[in-house]
């Protein structure tokens, strides 16, 4: 019995192992032709997160951002909607939290909560524009959410260069938010933002909502077969835009947590390439939250590793995007090839 399940396990995992090896193989080729030492680069990529507590905490911080970004894509994806606007929603969440963190003075607890909630609300609002256009005018959400990304990027620059501009910096960024709006650290040296607690809590909450509530059931039904769901009385016309807005709220939460818990200010470009990494994580996990968490952690490890590699050997940081993108392509190919043979 155990033997059978083992071979079965091997059969199931083989395509994934092959895909990971292939993706790393291509990355290796790139490193080789770029004139880098491939083996030591691999070692750096995979182990840099565990060199010391500092880099491990950094990995956890990246992980919490990535987790929220992939959940922001995943929630609408369950109802078959493509939220490519994660970036804009994250930025607006960050902007909202910074605004409250700078403009308001309040006691610590209240100030933190209002900052973060404002961020969530800003992300939610930012996604509500494409959601409205989708519901009212049936505009494809891929294009509209992307447009909102560009508008958000410029809004961040305008905001960071205006009233609270940090004149000491050559890069567009605001001055630090009030200390009362700063999220307490989980550990002070080396520093670890408590954002990770909230992002894991979000993942758990979302898991239970999707698995055990009527809303979750209807959302999954909408994604599996919208027409059938509608026939059986699910209000798909309402659920699809709503899921997009919830995704926006989650992305905004990510932005707000990064401002109140990590950067303490709004910085142009603070989203880095995390929105893309997050979207790929969600696609890799095929809409399963139980898979998002480990994949997001794996990708954060690779990301921190690639960053270390960039500092040491000037290997371009884009390597992590390519590695993850290829991984997704190979997994998609291996799965459909298996399906093909049947």
């Amino acid at each position: 019995m155990a033997k059978i399940s083992l071979t079965r396990l091997a059969k199931i995992s083989l395509p994934y192992i092959l895909s990971v090896s292939l993706a790393f193989g291509v990355a290796g080729l790139i490193l080789y032709f770029g004139g880098y030492d491939v083996i030591s680069s691999y070692r750096t990529i995979l182990t840099a997160s565990f060199w010391n507590l500092n880099s491990f905490f950094l990995t956890l911080t990246k992980f919490s951002t990535l987790l929220l970004m992939s959940l922001a894509f995943l929630t609408p994806y369950i109802s078959r909607k493509f939220n490519i606007g994660v970036e804009g929603q994250y930025l607006m969440g960050a902007l909202g939290a910074t605004l409250v963190g700078l403009a308001v003075s309040a006691p610590p607890g209240i100030h933190i909560i209002t900052s973060i909630l404002t961020g969530v609300f800003f992300g939610f609002l930012w996604a509500s524009v494409p959601a409205f256009l989708m519901a009212r005018y049936s505009v494809n959400e891929v294009i509209s959410t992307i447009m909102m990304n560009f508008i958000a990027r410029y809004s961040v620059i305008v905001f960071a260069m205006s009233l609270w501009r940090d004149v000491a910096s050559g890069h567009p960024m605001t001055i630090p938010i009030n200390t009362t709006a700063m999220l307490p650290l989980l550990s002070s040296s080396p520093p670890l933002s408590s954002g990770i607690v909230f992002s894991i809590a979000t993942a758990l909450l979302l898991y239970f909502i999707l698995a055990f509530t009527i809303f979750g059931y209807e959302l999954r039904a909408t994604g599996t077969n919208p027409r059938a769901a509608e026939v059986f009385g699910v209000n798909t016309k309402f659920l699809m835009p709503l899921s997009l807005m919830i995704g926006g709220g989650i992305a905004g939460f990510g932005g707000a947590l990064d401002v109140t818990g990590y950067y303490y200010r709004l910085i142009e470009g603070m989203q880095s390439n995390y929105p893309s990494l997050g979207i790929l994580i969600a696609l890799l996990s095929k809409g399963k939250i139980t898979l998002v968490v480990p994949i997001a952690f794996f990708i954060s490890v690779i990301d921190v590793g690639t960053n270390a590699l960039q500092r040491i050997q000037r290997v371009p940081i884009e390597l992590v995007l390519i590695l993850e993108g290829l991984l997704l392509v190979f997994i998609l190919v291996s799965e459909s090839l298996r399906w093909w043979k049947k």
Binding site: I30, F33, G34, F82, I84, V129, L133, R136, Y137, S138, V139, N140, V142, I143, S144, I146, M147, M148, F150, I151, Y154, S155, I157, V158, M161, S162, S276, I279, L280, L283, R314, P316, E318, L319, L321, I322, G325, L326, L328, V329, L332, V333, S336, L337, W340
Partner: protein
């Protein structure tokens, strides 16, 4: 605040001229999306393919000692490779076209920046290449005002207009074009009539990505001769919007491109006139105009937008019954 800079005729000529400079990438990319879509493949990776085309064109031109032809040839090669890969995943393996499109957008953008960094690195003053020289159309370019505005552009600008006419003719006035469109409308019926659905779709996808990639070349070769990570700046995504606005028709795509090129030219005109007009807005806020315009235009036309009937759906000969 010199009044000389407010000479209206100069401003208008300059404006029309810059509209034509900005129109070419929109035309090339939206034509690519349209042609691909007409064969039934919804390729939303345009932005990434353009960036890759731009990067490869820059590198090939730079390392061949300024040979622009080699640069563009490499961009075409990139278009072929990306198109075949996209086709393999979406046509042969029948994967979801939005998933593949999103992934290719990210992958191509990643490769574009990676290649540039590997070959050039991070430099204080980025290297530049020579740009395409304007071709003055004989006689017509001598017409006052009109000549300066319309007939002193580089080859790719003229070529993009020729391509609109050519693709309109090929798609709507030839038998092959009819077959091609039928594959995007009703692949099952086309298949029954003996039309090779797979082949047409591969051809459509690959022509599409070639156009997108060359559109990226244009961005590098038209004005600055530099490659930057923000060189495409949403033009690829806007072009997908133009294809939708243009109902997947080449002539309407031209109209859409003209619309967005006018908006883009207006942004830069307003920026340059800011001090003269006394506008007190941050320059970045003006840059959001094309994106806001896209949202408004899409909201106005989307419900009436007609898509090729089978766009986005893989064709499976053995599927018992079409459900949609």
């Amino acid at each position: 605040m010199s009044t000389a800079s407010l000479d209206l005729a100069t401003i208008i000529v300059g404006y029309v001229r810059s509209v034509l400079i900005y129109i070419a990438p929109y035309i090339l990319t939206s034509l690519g999306v349209v042609i691909s879509g007409r064969s039934g493949i919804y390729n939303i990776s345009a932005e990434g393919v353009m960036l890759l085309g731009a990067s490869v064109t820059f590198l090939a031109t730079y390392f061949s000692g300024g040979n622009i032809l080699i640069g563009i040839s490499y961009a075409v090669l990139v278009g072929v490779v990306v198109g075949l890969a996209f086709g393999f995943l979406t046509i042969s393996l029948k994967l979801n076209q939005f998933v593949v499109g999103t992934t290719f957008f990210i992958l191509c953008s990643g490769f574009a920046n990676l290649l540039y960094k590997l070959f050039i690195g991070v430099t204080l003053t980025p290297p530049s290449i020579e740009t395409l020289r304007p071709i003055t159309v004989p006689v017509l370019s001598d017409v006052p005002y009109v000549g300066d505005a319309l007939f002193k552009h580089n080859l790719l600008v003229y070529l993009s207009f020729v391509l609109v006419a050519a693709s309109y003719y090929l798609l709507y006035k030839t038998f092959t074009g009819l077959n091609f469109r039928s594959v995007g409308e009703n692949p099952k019926a086309a298949d029954t009539l003996g039309i090779n659905v797979t082949l047409y779709r591969y051809v459509g996808t690959t022509i599409g990505t070639i156009l997108m990639s060359v559109s990226g070349s244009y961005l590098v070769l038209s004005t600055t001769g530099l490659y930057t990570e923000t060189i495409v700046l949403g033009r690829g995504w806007i072009s997908v919007g133009i294809a939708i606005f243009g109902r997947w028709h080449p002539l309407w795509a031209l109209v859409g491109s003209a619309l967005f090129a006018s908006v883009e030219a207006l942004v830069y005109l307003l920026q340059s006139l800011q001090s003269v007009l006394g506008l007190k807005v941050p320059p970045e806020s003006l840059l959001t105009l094309p994106f806001i315009a896209t949202l408004i235009v899409l909201a106005l036309v989307y419900k009436k937008a007609e898509l090729p009937q089978a766009i986005g759906r893989p064709y499976d000969r053995e599927a018992p019954e079409e459900y949609a």
